[in-house]
Symmetry: C2
Subunit: 111 residues, 2 copies
DNA sequence: ACTGAGGTACGATGCAAGACGTACCTGAAG
DNA sequence: CTTCAGGTACGTCTTGCATCGTACCTCAGT
């Protein structure tokens, strides 16, 4: 019930290269643009993004985003929560989330 | 002598996905961090970056950067000039160059 | 205890992209 | 004109990565 937070890198350990490679994929970027546009920063289920890919591939993508330090993954055992690490990302890479948020306005077309 | 400017996308046609994929590679990113850090925006020769790769591969990488709209390539026939499209990039993706410039401080280690 | 939905682990596959060899072009210098 | 350095075009090889199939785990509900 409590949900264990899966480990990601510390704020100081965030690397631009890893982040940019994570954002290079259209599916991952569409997730990030949605998260960046939602200022409430509420925890979301991972199938609330309705990505047109299998669940194994979704697991893969969310792992990449977590290991890049962009999101937190909260493991509830049989389900998983996603939350944007807004303050961490903003402090390490100021302006990055604004770019993603701006992209969210342009329509939902990925890639 | 005049040098023809190789074509790149217009300012309005710049796409975040293409740009981020271009910046995902360590070699291309090291070029961009150098360019972003140089506020004079002077034209540079392409072997002034001393990339540890063959010249064919360098041609490939500079093409990617040009097609992403990040740089201009000026063709002099037997040599080539590189110039950052600072105003275009800054107007379309404000803050992006600042992120790259900040990365340039952290040392020259790519990837 | 059984079932079903959500998620992960592992392996295999297919494709895009980075890298380079060879050959060729261009212009400057001799 | 010849030479040579810088750059490109094309083909090839190889690596990385997105994707999925199969199998298994976890919890909630019945």
């Amino acid at each position: 019930m409590a949900g264990t937070n899966l480990v990601g890198p510390e704020v100081d350990a965030l690397e631009l290269g890893v982040v940019l490679r994570a954002l290079a994929d259209g599916h991952r970027r569409s997730v990030m643009t949605e998260l960046a546009a939602d200022r409430t920063d509420s925890e979301r289920g991972c199938n609330s993004f309705d990505l047109p890919i299998s669940k194994q591939t979704q697991t893969h993508h969310f792992r990449i985003l977590r290991e890049a330090g962009l999101i937190d993954e909260i493991d509830y055992g049989n389900r998983k929560g996603i939350r944007l690490r807004r303050t961490d990302v903003e402090s390490r890479f100021p302006g990055l989330l604004a770019l993603l948020e701006a992209e969210h306005q342009d329509g939902t077309a990925p890639r």
